[in-house]
Symmetry: C2
Subunit: 307 residues, 2 copies
């Protein structure tokens, strides 16, 4: 896909929301865990199968509502190889269902290692005469603390294969100010990052004007978001921090341009664990997720009209 395709999917579904899939045994509905343990054993494999069912049932339920999903790599890595096997399966499943798929691994390697990683995530891995597509995602989050060397290996995939990277600029967590807000001359660190993102974006702009290199900008700092939106009107924003962390629909309106374009808002636990906010035993968790996703869509629609 590409930033244009992502925008088009958002426009079609009139929903600028990316649902985060970050499975973890304690947040799964009990019936899913117990049935997976019954069938596959009380093992890492059993747990990983529970993740697969949980995520794919959510993907089925949300396919007509939500344009994009985000897989939290660390949650899968936490089950070791069994978890990664399911992350690969779930990523492919999501693609088949038409989602734009981001793998959220916040990596920041450089040089040869970054090249190897970029190829595995965006391209295919050669083993002898065979090529294996392992993850096949549309986008990755990257931590740009290492500068160009950590970003450039990903750019050919943005240019030729419709892939996107989202660089951490100003994250939604409270302590993001400790480093990201350091003042340097007339800039702060996150605007210096944004300037770099613009520099790396030469010849990477889509038809809608946005770069294939996006930026992570937290919903928890609406004034910062507003300033960044005005100054960097060609960087597509991936916006975490909605819901549990305090970001509201009113806040996130500033992430969008005047056409209601240029941003996607992420939400994880507030959607995928919506059943835990009720008296539910979890058997209706997909319906609860759909309800929560629609509520979020409607809340944002009060402030943002997607033309």
């Amino acid at each position: 896909m590409s930033i244009d395709v992502l925008q088009e999917r958002i426009r079609k579904l009139k929903n600028p929301v990316m649902v985060g899939l970050d499975p973890y045994l304690p947040i799964l509905p009990p019936h899913i865990v117990s049935e997976a343990f019954e069938e596959h054993g009380q093992t890492l494999h059993g747990a990983a199968e529970a993740y697969y069912r949980f995520c794919t049932e959510l993907l089925d339920a949300l396919a007509e509502i939500v344009p994009a999903v985000k897989l939290q790599s660390a949650c899968f890595e936490a089950l070791g190889a069994e978890g990664i096997a399911q992350m690969q399966r779930i990523s492919k499943y999501a693609k088949q269902r038409g989602y734009y798929v981001l793998i959220d691994s916040m990596r920041g390697d450089v040089g040869g290692v970054a090249e190897i990683y970029a190829q595995a995530m965006f391209g295919s891995v050669s083993v002898g005469e065979k090529d294996y597509r392992l993850y096949d995602c549309d986008a990755l989050t990257l931590n740009p603390y290492l500068g160009s060397d950590g970003v450039k290996p990903f750019l050919p995939y943005c240019k030729h294969d419709g892939k996107n990277i989202f660089l951490l600029l100003k994250t939604s967590n409270k302590s993001s100010r400790e480093v990201q807000d350091l003042l340097s001359g007339d800039r702060v660190v996150y605007t210096a990052m944004a300037d770099l993102a613009m520099r790396w974006s030469v010849d990477l702009f889509g038809k809608n004007g946005y770069s294939e290199i996006g930026a992570v900008v937290g919903a928890t700092f609406p004034q910062t978001m507003k300033l960044l939106r005005e100054k960097y009107d060609r960087l597509f924003f991936l916006v975490p921090g909605y819901g549990a962390q305090g970001g509201t629909a009113k806040n996130v309106q500033f992430a969008f341009d005047r056409f209601g374009h240029g941003a996607i808002i992420t939400a994880s636990r507030s959607i995928i664990c919506a059943w835990q906010m009720t008296e539910s035993d979890g058997r209706d968790y997909t319906q609860r997720a759909v309800d929560a996703a629609l509520k979020m869509k409607n809340d944002i629609a009060k402030y943002v009209v997607i033309l």
Copy 2:
């Protein structure tokens, strides 16, 4: 282990070198690849088995010379679940052989996700009534761009379980200056990071005076390293950039304190691919690695005496 144990192992072997294991099919000796394909098929599984043999044979050969090893997570992730399965095996194998084991994943998650990751890497993962130790490493590299929220979930393991984290301060790649060298008041970003590392180190100092929180400082900027060593005399340095990137024994002497303590120098390709620098067909790769490791040890010993 802990920073004290790492220092003790370095002192015992009189060798402040950490060998990086970052396997990749094109750098493996041909006989290892072909024999793995013969036995396991020309598949991801076969490739991953080749990684295992390559890494464990190197671990056997270097066990009496080298105190610590570093597994490059991205290289294993690049083979998907098969790669991660071998990273888990190799980490355990290295521990059994007595190595201090660092997993180099340069992650930077926050909050609940960071907690899940910390537990999986340093502790054990609970599945029903069972606990699984998956990675069991001694140390991780972390990207601290997100501030305290990304670091704090790892600190209990540093305090109670003898684990270490190494925060990226000033990396060895050329473009590190783009972000890390930004001037902010009387500090640059990497010294602001170092100040944070010191703040997080309260009650985390080992018997030798060094914090369980270490710092990544590249060998390619010797003046910076010297200044950092003088100012931050309680941060243990993990030093990349030796060899291929241009860091020399003369440069890295500045990473050490006057007892020859407080730093470990990493080297990957220059050791594990040493056979490629010769006319060798690769069958003697472990001997070539031993020779290269001894040469590096001796080169550093010309400038650094470990008391």
